[in-house]
Protein backbone atom coordinates (compact mmCIF):
# COMPACT_ATOMS: atom_id res chain seq x y z
CA UNK A 1 0.00 0.00 0.00
CA UNK A 2 0.99 3.63 -0.36
CA UNK A 3 1.15 6.03 2.59
CA UNK A 4 1.94 9.73 2.59
CA UNK A 5 4.36 10.83 5.32
CA UNK A 6 4.93 14.33 6.70
CA UNK A 7 7.55 15.77 9.05
CA UNK A 8 7.26 19.11 10.84
CA UNK A 9 9.45 21.65 12.61
CA UNK A 10 12.73 20.40 14.12
CA UNK A 11 11.99 16.89 12.91
CA UNK A 12 11.57 18.18 9.35
CA UNK A 13 14.99 19.82 9.61
CA UNK A 14 16.58 16.68 11.10
CA UNK A 15 15.12 14.50 8.37
CA UNK A 16 16.13 16.98 5.70
CA UNK A 17 12.72 16.81 4.03
CA UNK A 18 9.13 17.70 4.77
CA UNK A 19 7.65 14.41 3.67
CA UNK A 20 7.78 11.30 1.58
CA UNK A 21 5.62 8.67 -0.07
CA UNK A 22 6.16 5.23 1.45
CA UNK A 23 5.38 1.89 -0.22
CA UNK A 24 4.83 -0.83 2.39
CA UNK A 25 2.98 -4.17 2.81
CA UNK A 26 -0.75 -4.27 3.55
CA UNK A 27 -0.28 -4.62 7.33
CA UNK A 28 1.73 -1.85 8.91
CA UNK A 29 1.74 0.33 12.02
CA UNK A 30 2.82 3.94 12.43
CA UNK A 31 6.13 2.62 13.81
CA UNK A 32 6.65 0.58 10.63
CA UNK A 33 6.02 3.68 8.53
CA UNK A 34 8.56 5.61 10.61
CA UNK A 35 11.23 2.96 10.11
CA UNK A 36 10.80 2.97 6.38
CA UNK A 37 10.46 6.75 5.99
CA UNK A 38 13.46 7.47 8.22
CA UNK A 39 15.69 4.79 6.69
CA UNK A 40 15.81 2.85 9.96
CA UNK A 41 16.52 5.67 12.43
CA UNK A 42 15.38 5.28 16.05
CA UNK A 43 12.20 7.18 16.73
CA UNK A 44 13.01 10.23 18.93
CA UNK A 45 11.43 10.18 22.39
CA UNK A 46 8.40 12.45 22.91
CA UNK A 47 7.58 12.36 19.22
CA UNK A 48 3.92 13.00 18.35
CA UNK A 49 2.17 11.13 15.57
CA UNK A 50 -1.07 11.50 13.66
CA UNK A 51 -3.00 9.53 11.07
CA UNK A 52 -5.13 11.64 8.72
CA UNK A 53 -4.61 14.65 10.95
CA UNK A 54 -5.84 13.01 14.16
CA UNK A 55 -3.46 12.16 17.00
CA UNK A 56 -2.72 8.46 17.30
CA UNK A 57 -0.30 6.01 18.92
CA UNK A 58 2.83 4.58 17.33
CA UNK A 59 1.35 1.07 17.30
CA UNK A 60 -1.86 2.11 15.53
CA UNK A 61 -2.49 0.42 12.16
CA UNK A 62 -2.18 2.39 8.95
CA UNK A 63 -4.34 1.99 5.84
CA UNK A 64 -3.58 2.61 2.21
CA UNK A 65 -3.86 6.28 1.30
CA UNK A 66 -3.43 7.48 4.88
CA UNK A 67 -1.49 10.63 5.71
CA UNK A 68 0.89 9.90 8.60
CA UNK A 69 2.67 12.79 10.30
CA UNK A 70 5.55 12.89 12.79
CA UNK A 71 6.38 15.98 14.81
CA UNK A 72 8.01 17.22 18.02
CA UNK A 73 6.10 18.51 21.08
CA UNK A 74 3.92 21.45 20.13
CA UNK A 75 4.83 24.98 21.21
CA UNK A 76 2.09 27.31 20.00
CA UNK A 77 0.09 29.95 21.83
Amino acid sequence: MTVSVKFFASLREQMGCDGATVEIGEVATVADIWLQASGGKAMPPNILVSINQEYCGTNDPVSSGDEVAFFPPVTGG
Binding site: S10, E54, F71, P72, V74, T75, G76, G77
Partner: protein, 149 residues
Amino acid sequence: MKIEVSDNPLNPWEELQRYEQAQIGALNSGKVGAVATFVGTMRDFNEGDGVTGMELEHYPGMTENHLQQLAEEATDKWGLLDALIIHRVGRLLPNDPIVLVAVWSSHRKESFEACRWLMEALKSKAPFWKKEILESGDSRWVEKNTAGY
Protein backbone atom coordinates in the same frame (compact mmCIF):
# COMPACT_ATOMS: atom_id res chain seq x y z
CA MET B 1 -17.67 30.23 16.19
CA LYS B 2 -14.59 31.18 14.23
CA ILE B 3 -11.19 29.50 13.96
CA GLU B 4 -8.44 31.13 11.95
CA VAL B 5 -4.76 30.46 11.38
CA SER B 6 -3.16 33.28 9.46
CA ASP B 7 0.16 34.82 8.54
CA ASN B 8 -1.37 38.29 8.53
CA PRO B 9 -0.60 40.66 11.44
CA LEU B 10 -3.12 40.16 14.25
CA ASN B 11 -4.80 43.11 15.95
CA PRO B 12 -6.87 41.35 18.62
CA TRP B 13 -9.07 44.33 19.55
CA GLU B 14 -10.00 45.03 15.93
CA GLU B 15 -10.74 41.34 15.43
CA LEU B 16 -13.01 41.29 18.48
CA GLN B 17 -14.81 44.43 17.35
CA ARG B 18 -15.28 42.99 13.87
CA TYR B 19 -16.39 39.58 15.12
CA GLU B 20 -18.99 41.02 17.50
CA GLN B 21 -20.33 43.15 14.66
CA ALA B 22 -20.53 40.13 12.35
CA GLN B 23 -22.26 38.01 15.01
CA ILE B 24 -24.53 40.80 16.19
CA GLY B 25 -27.66 38.63 16.05
CA ALA B 26 -26.21 35.97 18.32
CA LEU B 27 -24.06 38.15 20.54
CA ASN B 28 -26.59 40.96 20.92
CA SER B 29 -29.36 38.68 22.13
CA GLY B 30 -29.34 39.78 25.77
CA LYS B 31 -27.92 36.40 26.84
CA VAL B 32 -24.23 37.39 27.01
CA GLY B 33 -23.09 38.41 30.48
CA ALA B 34 -19.37 37.70 30.24
CA VAL B 35 -16.62 37.86 27.64
CA ALA B 36 -13.23 36.47 28.64
CA THR B 37 -10.31 36.93 26.28
CA PHE B 38 -6.65 36.06 26.24
CA VAL B 39 -3.97 37.47 23.96
CA GLY B 40 -0.52 35.89 23.84
CA THR B 41 2.19 38.23 22.56
CA MET B 42 5.81 37.74 21.60
CA ARG B 43 8.36 38.59 24.27
CA ASP B 44 11.90 39.67 23.50
CA PHE B 45 13.33 37.18 25.99
CA ASN B 46 13.13 33.45 26.68
CA GLU B 47 15.20 31.20 28.93
CA GLY B 48 17.70 33.94 29.63
CA ASP B 49 18.34 34.92 26.01
CA GLY B 50 17.33 37.94 23.96
CA VAL B 51 14.98 36.99 21.14
CA THR B 52 14.70 39.23 18.05
CA GLY B 53 12.20 37.28 15.96
CA MET B 54 10.19 34.12 15.63
CA GLU B 55 9.03 31.70 12.94
CA LEU B 56 5.76 29.95 13.66
CA GLU B 57 4.99 26.76 11.77
CA HIS B 58 1.77 24.75 11.77
CA TYR B 59 0.20 21.67 10.18
CA PRO B 60 -2.30 23.11 7.69
CA GLY B 61 -5.60 21.33 8.05
CA MET B 62 -4.85 19.43 11.24
CA THR B 63 -4.20 22.61 13.22
CA GLU B 64 -7.46 24.26 12.22
CA ASN B 65 -9.43 21.04 12.78
CA HIS B 66 -7.88 20.54 16.18
CA LEU B 67 -8.65 24.12 17.26
CA GLN B 68 -12.22 23.63 16.05
CA GLN B 69 -12.54 20.47 18.15
CA LEU B 70 -11.19 22.26 21.22
CA ALA B 71 -13.62 25.17 20.74
CA GLU B 72 -16.53 22.75 20.38
CA GLU B 73 -15.45 20.80 23.45
CA ALA B 74 -15.26 24.02 25.51
CA THR B 75 -18.62 25.16 24.16
CA ASP B 76 -20.26 21.91 25.23
CA LYS B 77 -18.55 21.70 28.59
CA TRP B 78 -19.22 25.29 29.72
CA GLY B 79 -22.34 26.07 27.71
CA LEU B 80 -20.64 28.90 25.84
CA LEU B 81 -22.60 31.20 23.56
CA ASP B 82 -19.67 31.67 21.18
CA ALA B 83 -15.90 31.24 20.83
CA LEU B 84 -13.18 32.75 18.66
CA ILE B 85 -9.60 31.58 18.16
CA ILE B 86 -7.10 33.32 15.89
CA HIS B 87 -3.47 32.17 15.76
CA ARG B 88 -0.56 33.68 13.88
CA VAL B 89 1.92 31.71 11.84
CA GLY B 90 4.91 32.90 9.81
CA ARG B 91 7.45 35.52 10.83
CA LEU B 92 6.83 37.49 14.05
CA LEU B 93 8.62 40.30 15.84
CA PRO B 94 8.66 41.10 19.58
CA ASN B 95 5.35 42.61 20.79
CA ASP B 96 3.40 41.01 17.94
CA PRO B 97 0.23 39.26 19.10
CA ILE B 98 0.52 35.49 18.54
CA VAL B 99 -2.85 34.20 19.61
CA LEU B 100 -6.32 35.46 20.53
CA VAL B 101 -8.83 33.31 22.40
CA ALA B 102 -12.23 34.79 23.25
CA VAL B 103 -15.33 33.18 24.72
CA TRP B 104 -18.85 34.55 25.25
CA SER B 105 -20.98 33.20 28.05
CA SER B 106 -23.95 34.10 30.25
CA HIS B 107 -21.84 33.83 33.41
CA ARG B 108 -18.35 34.95 34.34
CA LYS B 109 -17.22 31.73 36.05
CA GLU B 110 -17.81 29.73 32.88
CA SER B 111 -16.13 32.34 30.69
CA PHE B 112 -12.96 32.48 32.81
CA GLU B 113 -12.67 28.71 33.08
CA ALA B 114 -13.36 28.05 29.41
CA CYS B 115 -10.94 30.73 28.17
CA ARG B 116 -8.13 29.44 30.34
CA TRP B 117 -8.82 25.81 29.50
CA LEU B 118 -8.82 26.63 25.78
CA MET B 119 -5.44 28.36 26.03
CA GLU B 120 -3.88 25.46 27.93
CA ALA B 121 -5.39 22.91 25.55
CA LEU B 122 -4.19 24.93 22.56
CA LYS B 123 -0.66 25.16 23.97
CA SER B 124 -0.43 21.49 24.88
CA LYS B 125 -2.19 19.95 21.87
CA ALA B 126 -2.57 22.17 18.80
CA PRO B 127 0.18 21.54 16.19
CA PHE B 128 2.20 24.76 16.19
CA TRP B 129 5.95 25.05 16.51
CA LYS B 130 8.04 28.09 17.38
CA LYS B 131 11.55 28.77 16.20
CA GLU B 132 13.29 31.65 17.93
CA ILE B 133 15.83 33.92 16.30
CA LEU B 134 18.29 35.00 19.00
CA GLU B 135 20.26 38.21 19.41
CA SER B 136 23.39 36.26 18.49
CA GLY B 137 21.86 35.52 15.08
CA ASP B 138 21.44 31.82 15.93
CA SER B 139 18.04 30.22 15.81
CA ARG B 140 16.55 27.44 17.93
CA TRP B 141 13.32 25.50 18.13
CA VAL B 142 11.37 25.99 21.34
CA GLU B 143 11.32 22.50 22.80
CA LYS B 144 8.38 22.56 25.16
CA ASN B 145 5.66 24.85 26.47
CA THR B 146 5.56 25.41 30.21
CA ALA B 147 2.47 24.40 32.17
CA GLY B 148 0.02 27.21 32.78
CA TYR B 149 -1.93 26.08 35.85
